[in-house]
Symmetry: C2
Subunit: 217 residues, 2 copies
Protein backbone atom coordinates (compact mmCIF):
# COMPACT_ATOMS: atom_id res chain seq x y z
CA UNK A 1 0.00 0.00 0.00
CA UNK A 2 1.24 3.40 1.05
CA UNK A 3 -0.06 4.88 -2.15
CA UNK A 4 -2.34 7.81 -2.57
CA UNK A 5 -5.85 7.38 -1.40
CA UNK A 6 -8.63 6.82 -3.89
CA UNK A 7 -10.65 9.86 -4.79
CA UNK A 8 -13.82 9.00 -2.98
CA UNK A 9 -15.52 9.97 0.20
CA UNK A 10 -14.40 7.84 3.06
CA UNK A 11 -17.39 8.29 5.28
CA UNK A 12 -18.07 4.75 6.35
CA UNK A 13 -21.51 5.69 7.52
CA UNK A 14 -22.54 4.86 3.99
CA UNK A 15 -21.19 1.36 3.95
CA UNK A 16 -21.43 0.36 7.56
CA UNK A 17 -24.98 0.23 8.74
CA UNK A 18 -24.12 -1.17 12.13
CA UNK A 19 -24.58 2.32 13.47
CA UNK A 20 -28.30 1.94 13.03
CA UNK A 21 -29.64 -0.26 15.70
CA UNK A 22 -32.25 -2.48 14.06
CA UNK A 23 -34.75 -0.30 12.30
CA UNK A 24 -35.53 -2.59 9.40
CA UNK A 25 -36.44 -6.26 9.66
CA UNK A 26 -34.45 -9.09 8.16
CA UNK A 27 -31.98 -11.67 9.21
CA UNK A 28 -30.00 -10.36 12.18
CA UNK A 29 -26.22 -10.16 12.27
CA UNK A 30 -24.72 -13.33 13.68
CA UNK A 31 -21.45 -11.76 14.80
CA UNK A 32 -20.52 -9.09 17.29
CA UNK A 33 -19.19 -6.15 15.28
CA UNK A 34 -17.02 -5.06 18.16
CA UNK A 35 -15.42 -8.46 18.58
CA UNK A 36 -14.73 -8.52 14.87
CA UNK A 37 -13.01 -5.15 15.08
CA UNK A 38 -10.86 -6.29 17.97
CA UNK A 39 -9.87 -9.47 16.19
CA UNK A 40 -8.98 -7.52 13.07
CA UNK A 41 -7.17 -4.92 15.16
CA UNK A 42 -5.00 -7.57 16.73
CA UNK A 43 -4.04 -8.91 13.32
CA UNK A 44 -3.22 -5.46 11.94
CA UNK A 45 -1.38 -4.66 15.14
CA UNK A 46 0.92 -7.64 14.78
CA UNK A 47 1.47 -7.52 11.04
CA UNK A 48 0.81 -3.99 9.84
CA UNK A 49 -1.60 -3.08 7.07
CA UNK A 50 0.37 -4.34 4.09
CA UNK A 51 1.48 -7.35 6.09
CA UNK A 52 -2.08 -8.43 6.75
CA UNK A 53 -3.91 -10.31 4.02
CA UNK A 54 -7.64 -10.68 3.58
CA UNK A 55 -7.25 -14.39 4.29
CA UNK A 56 -5.70 -13.67 7.67
CA UNK A 57 -8.42 -11.16 8.36
CA UNK A 58 -11.19 -13.59 7.49
CA UNK A 59 -9.58 -16.25 9.65
CA UNK A 60 -9.03 -14.04 12.68
CA UNK A 61 -12.47 -12.47 12.52
CA UNK A 62 -14.28 -15.63 11.54
CA UNK A 63 -16.30 -13.69 8.99
CA UNK A 64 -17.03 -14.63 5.44
CA UNK A 65 -15.69 -12.39 2.76
CA UNK A 66 -19.07 -10.98 1.85
CA UNK A 67 -19.99 -10.26 5.44
CA UNK A 68 -16.76 -8.38 5.92
CA UNK A 69 -17.16 -6.35 2.76
CA UNK A 70 -20.83 -5.70 3.37
CA UNK A 71 -20.29 -4.62 6.95
CA UNK A 72 -17.08 -2.67 6.72
CA UNK A 73 -16.60 -1.82 3.08
CA UNK A 74 -13.09 -3.17 2.57
CA UNK A 75 -9.68 -3.69 4.03
CA UNK A 76 -8.78 -0.05 4.47
CA UNK A 77 -12.13 0.95 5.92
CA UNK A 78 -11.89 -1.86 8.43
CA UNK A 79 -8.36 -0.78 9.23
CA UNK A 80 -9.46 2.75 9.98
CA UNK A 81 -12.27 1.48 12.16
CA UNK A 82 -9.61 -0.47 14.05
CA UNK A 83 -7.46 2.64 14.47
CA UNK A 84 -10.45 4.55 15.83
CA UNK A 85 -11.47 1.79 18.19
CA UNK A 86 -7.87 1.41 19.36
CA UNK A 87 -7.63 5.11 20.10
CA UNK A 88 -10.90 5.14 21.97
CA UNK A 89 -10.16 2.03 24.00
CA UNK A 90 -6.59 3.03 24.85
CA UNK A 91 -7.61 6.49 25.93
CA UNK A 92 -10.32 5.13 28.16
CA UNK A 93 -8.09 2.44 29.62
CA UNK A 94 -5.27 4.86 30.35
CA UNK A 95 -7.53 7.51 31.86
CA UNK A 96 -9.00 4.89 34.16
CA UNK A 97 -5.54 3.74 35.12
CA UNK A 98 -4.55 7.35 35.75
CA UNK A 99 -7.57 8.03 37.92
CA UNK A 100 -6.70 4.98 40.01
CA UNK A 101 -3.10 5.99 40.42
CA UNK A 102 -1.92 8.21 43.24
CA UNK A 103 0.75 10.01 41.29
CA UNK A 104 0.70 11.54 37.82
CA UNK A 105 4.42 10.95 37.48
CA UNK A 106 4.05 7.41 38.74
CA UNK A 107 1.41 6.78 36.11
CA UNK A 108 3.66 7.98 33.31
CA UNK A 109 6.49 5.82 34.59
CA UNK A 110 4.16 2.81 34.67
CA UNK A 111 3.09 3.37 31.11
CA UNK A 112 6.64 3.77 29.83
CA UNK A 113 7.77 0.73 31.77
CA UNK A 114 5.05 -1.36 30.18
CA UNK A 115 7.17 -1.17 27.05
CA UNK A 116 9.99 -2.77 29.00
CA UNK A 117 7.67 -5.66 29.75
CA UNK A 118 7.36 -6.29 26.05
CA UNK A 119 11.14 -6.47 25.83
CA UNK A 120 11.22 -9.07 28.59
CA UNK A 121 8.48 -11.19 27.08
CA UNK A 122 9.50 -13.89 24.63
CA UNK A 123 6.74 -13.07 22.20
CA UNK A 124 7.20 -10.68 19.31
CA UNK A 125 6.64 -7.09 20.46
CA UNK A 126 3.68 -5.41 18.81
CA UNK A 127 4.39 -1.83 19.80
CA UNK A 128 1.68 0.79 19.50
CA UNK A 129 -0.81 0.43 16.67
CA UNK A 130 -0.99 4.17 16.09
CA UNK A 131 2.75 4.74 15.91
CA UNK A 132 3.27 1.58 13.88
CA UNK A 133 0.77 2.98 11.41
CA UNK A 134 2.43 6.40 11.43
CA UNK A 135 5.66 4.65 10.51
CA UNK A 136 4.11 2.49 7.80
CA UNK A 137 2.01 5.14 6.09
CA UNK A 138 3.78 8.37 7.00
CA UNK A 139 1.65 10.98 5.22
CA UNK A 140 0.82 8.93 2.15
CA UNK A 141 -2.87 8.44 2.83
CA UNK A 142 -5.10 11.20 4.12
CA UNK A 143 -7.75 9.04 5.77
CA UNK A 144 -5.14 7.05 7.63
CA UNK A 145 -3.22 10.18 8.59
CA UNK A 146 -6.35 11.66 10.06
CA UNK A 147 -6.91 8.61 12.23
CA UNK A 148 -3.26 8.56 13.29
CA UNK A 149 -3.38 12.22 14.23
CA UNK A 150 -6.43 11.66 16.37
CA UNK A 151 -4.60 8.82 18.06
CA UNK A 152 -1.55 10.92 18.81
CA UNK A 153 -3.75 13.70 20.15
CA UNK A 154 -5.57 11.23 22.38
CA UNK A 155 -2.31 10.05 23.87
CA UNK A 156 -1.15 13.60 24.32
CA UNK A 157 -4.36 14.42 26.16
CA UNK A 158 -3.90 11.51 28.52
CA UNK A 159 -0.34 12.50 29.35
CA UNK A 160 -1.30 16.14 29.67
CA UNK A 161 -3.91 15.15 32.25
CA UNK A 162 -1.29 13.14 34.09
CA UNK A 163 1.17 16.03 34.00
CA UNK A 164 -1.44 18.41 35.39
CA UNK A 165 -2.08 15.98 38.18
CA UNK A 166 1.65 15.82 38.79
CA UNK A 167 1.88 19.60 38.87
CA UNK A 168 -0.97 19.84 41.36
CA UNK A 169 0.88 17.40 43.56
CA UNK A 170 4.04 19.48 43.12
CA UNK A 171 5.80 16.50 41.57
CA UNK A 172 7.05 18.67 38.72
CA UNK A 173 8.19 22.20 38.18
CA UNK A 174 5.29 24.64 38.55
CA UNK A 175 6.10 26.60 35.42
CA UNK A 176 6.93 23.74 33.08
CA UNK A 177 5.23 23.85 29.69
CA UNK A 178 2.94 20.87 30.02
CA UNK A 179 1.80 20.95 26.40
CA UNK A 180 5.36 20.55 25.23
CA UNK A 181 6.08 17.94 27.86
CA UNK A 182 3.08 15.88 26.83
CA UNK A 183 4.35 15.75 23.24
CA UNK A 184 7.73 14.78 24.58
CA UNK A 185 6.24 11.89 26.52
CA UNK A 186 4.39 10.60 23.46
CA UNK A 187 7.57 10.86 21.43
CA UNK A 188 9.56 9.07 24.11
CA UNK A 189 6.97 6.33 24.34
CA UNK A 190 7.15 5.82 20.62
CA UNK A 191 10.93 5.80 20.62
CA UNK A 192 11.11 3.28 23.42
CA UNK A 193 8.65 0.98 21.69
CA UNK A 194 10.64 1.04 18.49
CA UNK A 195 13.80 0.25 20.43
CA UNK A 196 12.05 -2.78 21.89
CA UNK A 197 10.98 -3.82 18.41
CA UNK A 198 14.58 -3.37 17.37
CA UNK A 199 15.68 -5.92 19.94
CA UNK A 200 17.06 -3.72 22.71
CA UNK A 201 16.99 -5.59 26.00
CA UNK A 202 14.92 -4.86 29.05
CA UNK A 203 17.72 -3.34 31.09
CA UNK A 204 18.55 -0.80 28.43
CA UNK A 205 14.88 0.06 28.08
CA UNK A 206 14.56 0.67 31.81
CA UNK A 207 17.53 2.99 31.79
CA UNK A 208 16.00 4.98 28.95
CA UNK A 209 12.78 5.25 30.93
CA UNK A 210 14.78 6.52 33.89
CA UNK A 211 16.33 9.27 31.82
CA UNK A 212 12.96 10.30 30.40
CA UNK A 213 11.43 10.41 33.85
CA UNK A 214 14.34 12.39 35.22
CA UNK A 215 13.79 15.00 32.53
CA UNK A 216 10.20 15.51 33.65
CA UNK A 217 10.88 16.41 37.22
Amino acid sequence: MAQNEPALLNIDIWTDWSYIEVMASGRPQEFDSNKVIWAAMDTFWSNGFDGTSMQQLLKSTGLSKSSLYQTFGGKQELFIRCLEEYTLAMKEKLLTQLSLSKSGIGFIREVLLSAAEEAKASSIPKGCLIMNTATEFAQSNAAVSRAVNKGIEAFRTVFLTALKKARSAKEIDADADLDQLSSYVVSSMSGIKSMVKGGVDEKAVRSIVDIVMRSLS
Copy 2:
Protein backbone atom coordinates in the same frame (compact mmCIF):
# COMPACT_ATOMS: atom_id res chain seq x y z
CA MET B 1 5.75 -10.65 4.94
CA ALA B 2 6.73 -10.37 8.56
CA GLN B 3 6.65 -14.16 8.81
CA ASN B 4 9.37 -16.47 10.02
CA GLU B 5 12.50 -16.64 7.97
CA PRO B 6 13.15 -19.59 5.68
CA ALA B 7 15.41 -22.26 7.10
CA LEU B 8 18.47 -21.59 5.02
CA LEU B 9 21.81 -19.95 5.43
CA ASN B 10 21.63 -16.30 4.61
CA ILE B 11 25.25 -15.74 3.78
CA ASP B 12 24.96 -13.75 0.60
CA ILE B 13 28.57 -14.39 -0.28
CA TRP B 14 27.22 -17.48 -1.98
CA THR B 15 24.77 -15.71 -4.19
CA ASP B 16 26.43 -12.39 -4.73
CA TRP B 17 29.69 -12.67 -6.58
CA SER B 18 30.20 -8.96 -6.89
CA TYR B 19 32.64 -9.27 -4.02
CA ILE B 20 35.11 -10.90 -6.36
CA GLU B 21 36.62 -8.33 -8.61
CA VAL B 22 36.93 -9.94 -12.03
CA MET B 23 38.78 -13.17 -11.74
CA ALA B 24 36.87 -15.11 -14.35
CA SER B 25 36.19 -13.94 -17.87
CA GLY B 26 32.77 -13.29 -19.32
CA ARG B 27 30.52 -10.42 -20.06
CA PRO B 28 31.14 -7.64 -17.58
CA GLN B 29 28.40 -6.21 -15.39
CA GLU B 30 26.76 -3.25 -17.08
CA PHE B 31 25.47 -1.64 -13.90
CA ASP B 32 27.09 -0.21 -10.81
CA SER B 33 26.16 -2.52 -7.93
CA ASN B 34 26.42 0.31 -5.47
CA LYS B 35 24.12 2.57 -7.40
CA VAL B 36 21.63 -0.26 -7.65
CA ILE B 37 21.72 -0.74 -3.90
CA TRP B 38 21.16 2.95 -3.31
CA ALA B 39 18.25 3.06 -5.73
CA ALA B 40 16.69 0.02 -4.07
CA MET B 41 17.40 1.47 -0.63
CA ASP B 42 15.55 4.62 -1.50
CA THR B 43 12.52 2.63 -2.62
CA PHE B 44 12.50 0.47 0.50
CA TRP B 45 13.08 3.54 2.60
CA SER B 46 10.00 5.26 1.23
CA ASN B 47 7.68 2.28 1.09
CA GLY B 48 8.91 -0.34 3.51
CA PHE B 49 9.64 -3.94 2.61
CA ASP B 50 6.10 -5.19 2.15
CA GLY B 51 5.14 -1.93 0.51
CA THR B 52 7.79 -2.33 -2.16
CA SER B 53 7.04 -4.62 -5.09
CA MET B 54 9.53 -6.28 -7.40
CA GLN B 55 8.18 -4.12 -10.22
CA GLN B 56 9.03 -0.94 -8.32
CA LEU B 57 12.43 -2.35 -7.54
CA LEU B 58 13.14 -3.19 -11.15
CA LYS B 59 12.01 0.25 -12.22
CA SER B 60 14.02 2.17 -9.64
CA THR B 61 17.16 0.12 -10.15
CA GLY B 62 16.81 -0.18 -13.90
CA LEU B 63 17.78 -3.82 -13.71
CA SER B 64 16.14 -6.74 -15.40
CA LYS B 65 14.60 -9.34 -13.20
CA SER B 66 17.24 -11.94 -13.94
CA SER B 67 20.07 -9.52 -13.26
CA LEU B 68 18.60 -8.62 -9.93
CA TYR B 69 18.05 -12.20 -8.90
CA GLN B 70 21.41 -13.33 -10.21
CA THR B 71 23.27 -10.51 -8.48
CA PHE B 72 21.46 -10.26 -5.18
CA GLY B 73 19.52 -13.47 -4.74
CA GLY B 74 16.09 -12.05 -4.13
CA LYS B 75 14.02 -9.33 -2.58
CA GLN B 76 14.94 -10.03 1.02
CA GLU B 77 18.64 -10.46 0.32
CA LEU B 78 18.69 -7.17 -1.54
CA PHE B 79 16.82 -5.57 1.33
CA ILE B 80 19.40 -6.72 3.84
CA ARG B 81 22.20 -5.45 1.62
CA CYS B 82 20.39 -2.10 1.66
CA LEU B 83 20.17 -2.13 5.45
CA GLU B 84 23.88 -2.85 5.69
CA GLU B 85 24.83 -0.19 3.21
CA TYR B 86 22.55 2.31 4.93
CA THR B 87 24.17 1.59 8.28
CA LEU B 88 27.64 1.90 6.88
CA ALA B 89 26.96 5.10 4.98
CA MET B 90 25.06 6.79 7.79
CA LYS B 91 27.71 5.96 10.33
CA GLU B 92 30.42 7.33 8.11
CA LYS B 93 28.46 10.45 7.23
CA LEU B 94 27.61 11.18 10.87
CA LEU B 95 31.12 10.56 12.12
CA THR B 96 32.46 12.95 9.51
CA GLN B 97 29.87 15.53 10.51
CA LEU B 98 30.83 15.02 14.14
CA SER B 99 34.52 15.45 13.48
CA LEU B 100 33.79 18.71 11.69
CA SER B 101 31.64 20.03 14.47
CA LYS B 102 33.06 21.97 17.38
CA SER B 103 30.69 20.65 19.99
CA GLY B 104 29.49 17.11 20.73
CA ILE B 105 26.26 18.46 22.12
CA GLY B 106 25.86 20.76 19.14
CA PHE B 107 26.26 17.80 16.84
CA ILE B 108 23.54 15.83 18.60
CA ARG B 109 21.22 18.81 18.44
CA GLU B 110 21.90 19.19 14.72
CA VAL B 111 21.07 15.56 14.10
CA LEU B 112 17.85 15.68 16.07
CA LEU B 113 16.84 18.91 14.40
CA SER B 114 17.29 17.35 10.99
CA ALA B 115 14.11 15.47 11.80
CA ALA B 116 12.36 18.79 12.20
CA GLU B 117 13.45 19.63 8.68
CA GLU B 118 11.49 16.66 7.42
CA ALA B 119 8.43 18.00 9.22
CA LYS B 120 8.82 21.34 7.49
CA ALA B 121 9.31 19.85 4.03
CA SER B 122 6.22 19.23 1.95
CA SER B 123 7.37 15.82 0.82
CA ILE B 124 6.41 12.64 2.64
CA PRO B 125 8.82 11.99 5.54
CA LYS B 126 10.86 8.84 5.17
CA GLY B 127 12.20 8.57 8.67
CA CYS B 128 15.12 6.27 9.43
CA LEU B 129 15.38 3.08 7.39
CA ILE B 130 16.66 1.09 10.35
CA MET B 131 13.93 2.15 12.76
CA ASN B 132 11.27 1.83 10.07
CA THR B 133 12.41 -1.72 9.58
CA ALA B 134 12.48 -2.40 13.30
CA THR B 135 8.86 -1.27 13.42
CA GLU B 136 7.80 -3.29 10.39
CA PHE B 137 9.52 -6.56 11.22
CA ALA B 138 9.88 -6.36 15.01
CA GLN B 139 11.58 -9.68 15.83
CA SER B 140 9.83 -11.78 13.22
CA ASN B 141 12.82 -12.43 10.98
CA ALA B 142 16.25 -13.26 12.33
CA ALA B 143 18.31 -12.04 9.39
CA VAL B 144 16.52 -8.72 9.35
CA SER B 145 16.75 -8.38 13.13
CA ARG B 146 20.48 -8.91 12.95
CA ALA B 147 20.87 -6.11 10.42
CA VAL B 148 18.61 -3.83 12.44
CA ASN B 149 20.60 -4.49 15.58
CA LYS B 150 23.82 -3.64 13.84
CA GLY B 151 22.22 -0.42 12.67
CA ILE B 152 21.09 0.54 16.14
CA GLU B 153 24.52 -0.23 17.52
CA ALA B 154 26.13 1.90 14.85
CA PHE B 155 23.96 4.87 15.78
CA ARG B 156 24.67 4.28 19.44
CA THR B 157 28.38 4.30 18.72
CA VAL B 158 28.14 7.60 16.88
CA PHE B 159 26.24 9.25 19.71
CA LEU B 160 28.53 7.73 22.29
CA THR B 161 31.48 9.28 20.51
CA ALA B 162 29.69 12.62 20.46
CA LEU B 163 28.88 12.34 24.15
CA LYS B 164 32.48 11.60 25.00
CA LYS B 165 33.52 14.63 23.03
CA ALA B 166 30.93 16.64 24.96
CA ARG B 167 32.23 15.33 28.26
CA SER B 168 35.79 16.22 27.35
CA ALA B 169 34.59 19.72 26.59
CA LYS B 170 32.75 19.75 29.92
CA GLU B 171 29.45 20.27 28.13
CA ILE B 172 27.83 17.51 30.15
CA ASP B 173 28.05 16.11 33.64
CA ALA B 174 31.40 14.37 34.22
CA ASP B 175 29.89 11.29 35.81
CA ALA B 176 26.94 10.75 33.50
CA ASP B 177 26.51 7.22 32.18
CA LEU B 178 27.28 7.79 28.52
CA ASP B 179 26.28 4.28 27.45
CA GLN B 180 22.81 4.82 28.78
CA LEU B 181 22.65 8.31 27.38
CA SER B 182 23.62 7.10 23.92
CA SER B 183 20.72 4.63 23.94
CA TYR B 184 18.48 7.42 25.10
CA VAL B 185 19.51 9.59 22.18
CA VAL B 186 18.84 6.82 19.67
CA SER B 187 15.46 6.22 21.24
CA SER B 188 14.65 9.91 21.18
CA MET B 189 15.72 10.20 17.58
CA SER B 190 13.42 7.34 16.67
CA GLY B 191 10.53 8.78 18.63
CA ILE B 192 10.91 12.17 17.03
CA LYS B 193 11.01 10.68 13.54
CA SER B 194 7.85 8.72 14.15
CA MET B 195 6.14 11.86 15.43
CA VAL B 196 7.09 13.58 12.19
CA LYS B 197 5.68 10.66 10.23
CA GLY B 198 2.57 10.97 12.33
CA GLY B 199 2.12 14.54 11.15
CA VAL B 200 3.33 16.55 14.14
CA ASP B 201 4.40 20.01 13.02
CA GLU B 202 7.85 21.52 13.03
CA LYS B 203 7.34 23.71 16.06
CA ALA B 204 6.28 20.80 18.23
CA VAL B 205 9.22 18.78 16.98
CA ARG B 206 11.65 21.56 17.89
CA SER B 207 10.25 21.77 21.39
CA ILE B 208 10.70 18.02 21.83
CA VAL B 209 14.29 18.36 20.68
CA ASP B 210 14.80 21.12 23.25
CA ILE B 211 13.59 18.89 26.04
CA VAL B 212 15.80 16.02 24.93
CA MET B 213 18.82 18.30 24.75
CA ARG B 214 18.07 19.79 28.16
CA SER B 215 18.08 16.30 29.65
CA LEU B 216 21.59 15.68 28.36
CA SER B 217 23.30 18.59 30.03
